[in-house]
């Protein structure tokens, strides 16, 4: 490599790297917190990338040909912001607002900044999301942009990283480049593998990647590694750069105890002296090409499936039917599934539009990450698996909300009503989990026509949208022309002298209707509300019921008592203000086993029989007895 040691750009790279280190220190010292040393280790890597390889129009962050630069090690945000300054995207004044209230420069990057695609800071997420972006680039848009991902060595311990490795090679994503800043030191000491760069190389190769081991502070090696990574050979590339944490400032270099620690003013002064800092400069970044994304068929009106009610249809089946219909109408609809497409019925979309369906295998973290990556590229992803297995990806869903991603998740096989497979397959916490996501929408249909309508709405909604479907076939309650607004509900039974209101959704709505019939035969009339929109919940209709049908409610749900439909109803009244009505929650209270759906619904005290008992107790004025168990 001696031939390239006099690369004409070495001086520029060195100047920029110095500036990146200086700015990483200045901004964190001003903030009084942050991660300067984790930024300094990668400064040389990023200096070469910005000025010689990245193609990005910082004036047009939405340019479709822009490369993507993703800091999977989000705590190196000072370096990222220093890069934005070096590219002329932000001023020095703004740089110095790091971590202050109201600044766009948050402690970890978020898309509040237009050049940031996704929020990072929960380690091990940047690479899986990049796989989603790369899938869109290679297979959908067919654009040559690259995805450059800066990885920390600590995060290589996250399993999600290896899901991403697996998928990136399987899908031959050779425009994806991982840059591993192997600085040896994690937050509280050495990582599991320290500077054993060969371990990472062996693993990357075993997972089907190219692997290049370099010194991360030798510009020629960095330059050659990028050049090599740019050569498409059908496999993604991991550049494993041996680096020194805190590189450039003697008293922090390779020292433990400096993670996430800003320099004092005195330390900053000494550091800037050592770095021989002269002046800030703006550096030219190559503009991207001007290619058009691959042509897609024109959009058409959606022709949703309809169900005539002659036979019962599982809502999961209606999901598959409706998704296929959306796919026919809109070429931006993307299908993703976690290797259970014959259960979620995503297989219908996969068969109809194989070019827009990406099998995610049993890798739920990657499933959600791919959806987020598709959202970055303005696609409309629908990702499905068993509802319970989205719990595997909760951190990714939470972060997707911080990323302001627009993703649609469909979880099938909700609740004890799945029957014989037992509790490991039963989603009993998914409503709690999904409601507690910022800005989320949570839908839970009870019949096929309603499902189809809601799936169509999902395509147009923003943020994290979740649909819960049922394994069992359920009768059709609604005509194909019935409309279902998000945030609405349906009163499916009412009279002029309702004594109690029963609120249900999904499988329990059918139990509520059976309870209605029995109660009516006993002379008790109840209002039955189908709360298919769990979040936002239809507070108007609930409040009206409290006024018209008495202040007594029974809420039945196939879910733990915490965080589901019952709590959504309580929340609605609490938000409205004033004293709340009496609300008896029927929910799953103890660990279910296997059995028939009917046996398990009954054992969980959420079947028609238990709704009847709860209503009877309320009518008799027995407080809080219902069918609840302690």
């Amino acid at each position: 490599m001696t031939t390239t040691q006099t690369h004409p750009k070495v001086q520029q790279w060195a100047h920029l790297a110095r500036q990146l280190r200086v700015d990483s220190i200045r901004s964190t010292t001003a903030a009084g917190s942050g991660h300067p040393t984790s930024s300094m280790s990668a400064a040389d890597l990023m200096a070469v990338l910005l000025t010689s390889y990245l193609r990005y129009d910082f004036d047009h962050p939405q340019h479709p040909n822009n490369d993507h630069l993703i800091f999977s090690k989000g705590h190196a945000s000072p370096l990222l912001y220093a890069l934005f300054k070096a590219a002329g995207a932000i001023s020095d004044d703004e740089l110095m607002t790091l971590r202050t209230f109201g600044s766009r420069l948050e402690g970890h990057p978020t898309p509040v900044l237009p050049w940031v695609d996704v929020a990072t800071g929960s380690l091990g997420q940047g690479l899986p999301i990049s796989v989603g972006i790369a899938l869109a680039g290679k297979y959908l848009e067919k654009l040559p942009y690259h995805i450059w991902v800066l990885l920390g060595d600590s995060e290589m311990a996250e399993g999600s990283i290896w899901e991403a490795f697996d998928h990136a090679s399987h899908y031959k994503l050779d425009h994806l480049v991982g840059i591993l800043d192997c600085n040896r030191l994690g937050q509280r000491g050495e990582t599991m593998h320290g500077w054993n760069t060969e371990v990472y190389a062996a693993r990357a190769k075993a997972f089907g990647w190219n692997a290049i081991v370099i010194d991360g502070h030798t510009y020629e090696e960095i330059d050659q590694a990028y050049a090599q990574a740019m050569q498409p050979n059908g496999a993604p590339t991991l550049i494993i750069a041996k680096t020194i944490k805190g590189k450039g400032v003697s008293f922090v270099e390779n020292k433990n105890g400096w993670h996430g620690k800003a320099f004092s003013k005195e330390q900053e002064e000494q550091a800037l002296k050592e770095l021989n800092y002269v002046r800030s400069q703006t550096f030219p970044v190559q503009k991207p090409e001007n290619l058009q994304p691959a042509k897609a068929p024109a959009k058409k009106p959606v022709a949703l499936p309809t169900y005539d009610g002659k036979e019962a249809i599982a809502t999961r089946k209606a999901y598959g039917d409706a998704l296929q219909a959306l796919g026919a109408a809109n070429p931006d609809i993307i299908g993703l599934d976690g290797e259970v497409g014959n259960s979620t019925y995503a297989e219908e979309f996969a068969r109809a539009y194989p070019d827009r369906f990406f099998e995610q295998y049993i890798a739920e973290q990657q499933l959600v990450s791919t959806a987020v990556g598709m959202s970055v590229r303005q696609k409309i992803p629908f990702a499905s698996t068993f509802a319970v297995f989205f719990s595997r990806a909760y951190d990714f869903i939470r972060m997707a909300a911080i990323s302001r991603a627009n993703i649609r998740l469909c979880g099938s096989h909700a609740g004890v009503s799945i029957g014989e497979d037992g509790p490991s397959q039963m989603a009993l916490e998914d409503l709690a989990m999904m409601r507690a996501v910022s800005g989320s929408t949570v839908l839970y249909p009870c019949d096929a026509n309603q499902t189809a309508q809601l799936v169509a709405h999902m395509a147009d909604l923003h943020g994290i949208v979740y649909l819960r479907t049922t394994r069992e076939k359920t009768p059709i309650l609604y005509g194909p022309d019935e409309q279902f607004a998000v945030g609405g509900s349906k009163i499916v039974r009412q009279s002029n002298n309702d004594q109690v209101t029963v609120v249900a959704a999904g499988i329990t709505l059918h139990e509520a209707l059976k309870a209605y019939d029995q109660l009516k035969s006993e002379g008790i009339t109840v209002r039955v509300i189908d709360a298919y929109s769990v979040k936002p919940i239809d507070a108007e209709t609930l409040v009206a019921a409290a006024q018209e049908a008495g202040k007594k409610f029974v809420v039945a749900e196939d879910h733990w008592p915490e965080g589901g439909l019952g709590d959504a109803v309580l929340e609605a009244f609490s938000r409205r203000g004033g004293p709340l009505p009496e609300i008896v929650k029927l929910a799953v209270q103890s660990m279910p086993g296997s059995g028939t759906p009917a046996a398990l619904l009954d054992a969980a005290c959420i079947s028609a029989r238990h709704i009847v008992t709860a209503v009877q107790a309320l009518v008799r004025g027995e407080q809080g007895r219902g069918s609840q168990r302690a």
Copy 2:
């Protein structure tokens, strides 16, 4: 290998394998559902294991020297139950109760059966949990038992599997043997790597394991592989067995579309004919040795840390102090942390008891799994990381509840009050997540003395126990002798004419106390309740407050509005029955950014100022105005 083709046990193995296949078919056909073909592929592997390598006293499942047999591919439960029958542990009658209501033989294995250590059925969990068991065996008990883990090839796509590979080799767990039943077919088609056994071998080796590729239906190869795996060489072993799904019955062998599908009666008849089934037999299993676990120091009374109140102390620091104190008293206390021990203060335990502390690096799924494995060996694990990163392991926590595991989790850095690091590091959904776990306990202390007491209680509690700690230092409110029952609360301010009750916990309790002072100066007296036990919540004290201090409540929490303390209070009243009081929930409503803790608490409308405003509005009778935002 020709020399061993006449192994004397081949006939026994073949007979047992035939019986295992037959029983897997019979039980699932009787049930009308289940996974016969996924059981049949591994029947030969398990036949050799049961009769020639496993050491297990089925009459004494708690024998400390028993090997562990874990079906990570839990859907092969028919095979597991057939093994139990072959070992004489269950009768044929019980075998035929598979998947029926009330049977111990659930669709996927759970510890309702005494020979099952942990629930499986969510793929990719059996191996990580086995790592925890193996750590206990090698480093704590120093017993020579083996852990045999049957893996499916579909689950090799789960990142958690690779976290387990990483940790197992790092900790040199050479008594851990993975048996990969590589039958090529997942639920809906071929896996990512099909029968490419060399891919798995290369990955296992790159992750520091021994790898042995065999034909999973050739007894001599199976036998030799086990014999080789039994030779300790400082590394765990993966046996990669190429198998045929449905092996033994011609019309299902290697056929897609047979996953999770029981045979019809006619198909069963034909299959049994093909398998040439004669009679059921019980097979002898080797008994384990009778070694004693390594001697541990005697237990001593706990001397908890105390805080005199002269300086503010972060509850996370008190957690570390208290955990160290527990460690001094009880040698069964185990410390685990996700590479943030200097933030969670688990480092105090790690320094004091390095032999009982296991660094889990940035691998939260493994962190929780190791805790579950420790619980299997009757240890008392405390696992800590940032509260928000337990969301990475939610599926593991959920499954731990089904496993009836006793694990203690401590999440630090809760809520917006962490300040500058921004939303990726803020736990705002952890209370919702943890409350919606079956049988869980959720604790949230506000000062150091309270924290110490609660940590001591955690050691004695069963099930999933979660403690939420705060990053910031907080004043000491309680004396060191104050007692805090789980399920209790503290009334920290009250008078004879309280007009409103403010419920808070953790950081917001301090805001509530500031609000109390300001309100008092305005002539408004409020009752302030410290609801440190979020689940179970102290319904008695809340109901008493509604009777004595008026039916108006303000609940303030550093959490999203869904599923947290506010919902716990609503739940308490709802369970009690009758109309609910007016309850204004102050919680984090919109996405926070970076800033000082005080600025963020105020921006989230959960600071003292907002509590004051909410109380004033309630006192004036303005319903539901408070500081809530839409």
